[in-house]
């Protein structure tokens, strides 16, 4: 168990920047999800910590100790790769015992048995120890690979896209299983993924990387509900957040209303949002609206926007409705799947102003979101 401090970490491969001036602290026993698209710098970050690659500049501390000069084997870091790399000729027990029999540990067999049995219980594979690897399900293989990494009692666990090669269905169930076991890992963990649901589900915090830069380091709730920028907002949520142009107008006293899509439908902004906007003197804004927050309204609703149904895509439990607003903008809504909608029909929709994510149109950075509205149903 250990904390990790990265300070000014930069890595170039030839002339290509992979990671630029990355600084972040990971708490002891924290599960940090590192999220970003391909080429974001996730694997580079893990490789530098594991010692597989050397940074051009910057320092890495594990448990307060600088490890820059240490060989990978001496860092006490366990890296689990996408393809588990289990020995198929061995059974589960021998796979898990393997690192402890290596020259570095060379534990006596009774000690090995103690550790393997303990960690097999944690991973819920203690009933499978005699099984050959080929006879295991994917989930059991994952747990064996994790168990093998755990027996070494590493200070730090590095997981590089461990689920990305699985089918969608399996990825769901393995992610949940991993989350279920997470608290029992008892080890500081850094988990790289390009799947935002994995990052939100598993991470105590999420580090969002793109193009070698850290865009945001925050709790899963914050990256989703209070994303640092429009760029970050677009990476979380499926379908993608709607980004709309908007104007602010004073509506008497200190009140502000927001206008978008249709000039004559003012959205009164909550006081806490007004306060932030007044403090920052921002006039040009853009607004983020998550598709589940777009609600179909009753016809004739005076507060609702007008639209035609540009596209209706049923996905089963829910459907994606693409609405063409009066100004021509396309707005995506995620609606209950039991209802069907006819293409090109007129409809109306509402957006609760408490749910708006407000960005500065120039800097594209986060300005405000109301805290009044809890995300509870």
């Amino acid at each position: 168990m250990a904390s990790v401090e990265l300070q000014g970490l930069t890595k170039y491969y030839n002339k290509r920047r992979a990671l630029e001036n990355l600084s972040l602290d990971i708490h002891d026993n924290e599960f940090l999800a590192v999220f970003g698209p391909a080429g974001a710098g996730k694997t580079t970050m893990l490789s530098l910590i594991a010692g597989i690659a050397t940074p051009n500049s910057g320092t890495i501390k594990i448990g307060g100790r600088e490890i820059g000069g240490l060989a990978p084997a001496d860092r006490n870091v366990a890296m689990v790769f996408e393809s588990y790399a289990l020995y198929s000729q061995f059974n589960v027990y021998d796979n898990m015992a393997f690192p402890l029999r290596s020259p570095k540990f060379k534990l006596p067999e009774d000690k090995i048995k103690e550790r393997v049995t303990h960690h097999a219980k944690v991973m819920r594979i203690d009933h499978l120890l005699e099984r050959p690897i080929q006879a295991l399900s994917n989930g059991q293989r994952q747990r064996t690979a994790l168990g093998r990494a755990l027996v070494r009692n590493p200070d730090l666990f590095l997981l590089d896209e461990p689920l990305s090669h699985l089918s969608a269905n399996l990825r769901h169930s393995m992610r949940v299983e991993l989350k279920e076991m997470r608290t029992q890992l008892g080890t500081t963990t850094i988990y790289a993924t390009h799947d935002y649901r994995e990052a939100m589900s598993l991470g105590d915090r999420v580090a969002m990387l793109n193009g070698g830069h850290l865009l945001q380091l925050a709790s899963p709730d914050d990256v989703y509900f209070r994303p640092a920028s429009i760029d970050v907002a677009k990476f979380f949520g499926d379908p993608e957040v709607n980004i709309l142009d908007a104007k602010l107008k004073s509506s008497g006293g200190s009140k502000l209303s927001l206008h978008m899509l249709e000039e004559n439908i003012p959205l009164p902004l909550p006081p806490d949002v007004v306060q932030v906007l007044n403090e920052k003197h921002t006039s040009k804004i853009q607004v983020g609206v998550r598709p589940p927050d777009v609600r179909i309204a009753r016809e004739g609703d005076k507060q609702a926007f007008h639209a035609t149904i540009y596209s209706f895509e049923p996905l089963g439990t829910r459907s994606i409705l693409t609405l063409k607003a009066v100004d021509g903008s396309l707005v995506r809504a995620l609606v209950d799947g039991h209802q069907t909608f006819e293409m090109d029909r007129r409809t109306q929709f509402r957006i609760d102003p408490h749910l708006l994510i407000i960005f500065d149109a120039e800097s594209q950075r986060f300005l405000a979101r109301s805290a009044e509205f809890s995300e509870e149903p």
């Binding site: 269905n169 279920e180 589900s201 509900f225 994606i320 799947g337 149903p377």
Partner: protein, 362 residues
Amino acid sequence: MAELLYRKLVKQYRPDLPPALDRLDLKIRDGEFIALLGPSGCGKSTTLRMTAGLESVSDGQIVIGGKVVNNTHPKDRGIGLAFENYALYPPLTVRDNLAFNLRAHRVKQTEIDKRVAEIAKYLHVEELLDLKPAALSSGQKQRVNIGRALIRRPAVLLLDEPLSHLDAALRVKMRTEIKRLHTEQRFTTIMVTHDQLEAMALADRIAVLNDGKLQQFDTPLQVFNHPANEFVAGFLGEPPMNIFAVNADSNRRLVVPGTDFALPVTNYVGRLLGHRTSVRLGVRPWGIRVSHTPSEISVPGTVSVVENLGDETRVGVRYGDMLLMASTVMTRIYKPGLKVHLTFEDEDLNLFDQNTGERLTA
């Protein structure tokens, strides 16, 4: 555009192997959008390739617009084919890419100009006609690609995994554009895909294939809500349906042996069960209601894992080896260790025969 018919269509690559496609019967209406959906090796691509004339037919018939085309040359079948990779010619402008196939068929220049203008208008690429592919966005390339297939005025448009190489966000946007295009133009379309969301979102009807056999052919919501069998139930839906073995015990409950899972048998479930004592039970995560208080038909459990995903919360309750997943709107009231009670409405329960996998119906 035309109607397309498969009559007992068979593809047998080797006599010692089961057929890649086994007696496929489908009737596709004029203007309909059909998705052929299934895992790799299910026979969907084989069907598409046979339709296009890239593979021979082992047995059965392919009928396009009332005419059997089994032995018709590919170019005379009236098929427009758009592959996954765009395969646009980089040195040619959009206009020349669109015109390419017509020139190859020695269509007159005045006719070519007319058709290019027409198709460009359909696909909203009029302003792009003088650009080269490198200057286009992925979405624009996709439209030009489809335009190239459509310009010969095919009877049937074939789309082979049209979105699979795009990143998630773009895929959702392009899906909408294809949906829009089909609504406006209503060309008879067959799309091959392994992505169930793509099939659900776009198709008028979905043909689900597995091991060369048709499993179900129906509208997206029918296939989703009333799957014909366990394969279809498990293949469609994200998060996936919970499917697990249960036994009927002497107290008229469905139980998972060795666990606390005991679901009282309602009249409806009783009718489905008949005399069976073991079945497989299927319920979608959104079909389970999680509550703090018990009811006469609820199943007790303890929350084992919780996922907050922004737009929904998923709650896992463990029964032995089985982790039952329930989905709710975003909430923070559930924590691991919390005692809960799960309610399953009749309409959300699927019972599958444990031997055949068929869904039981009353």
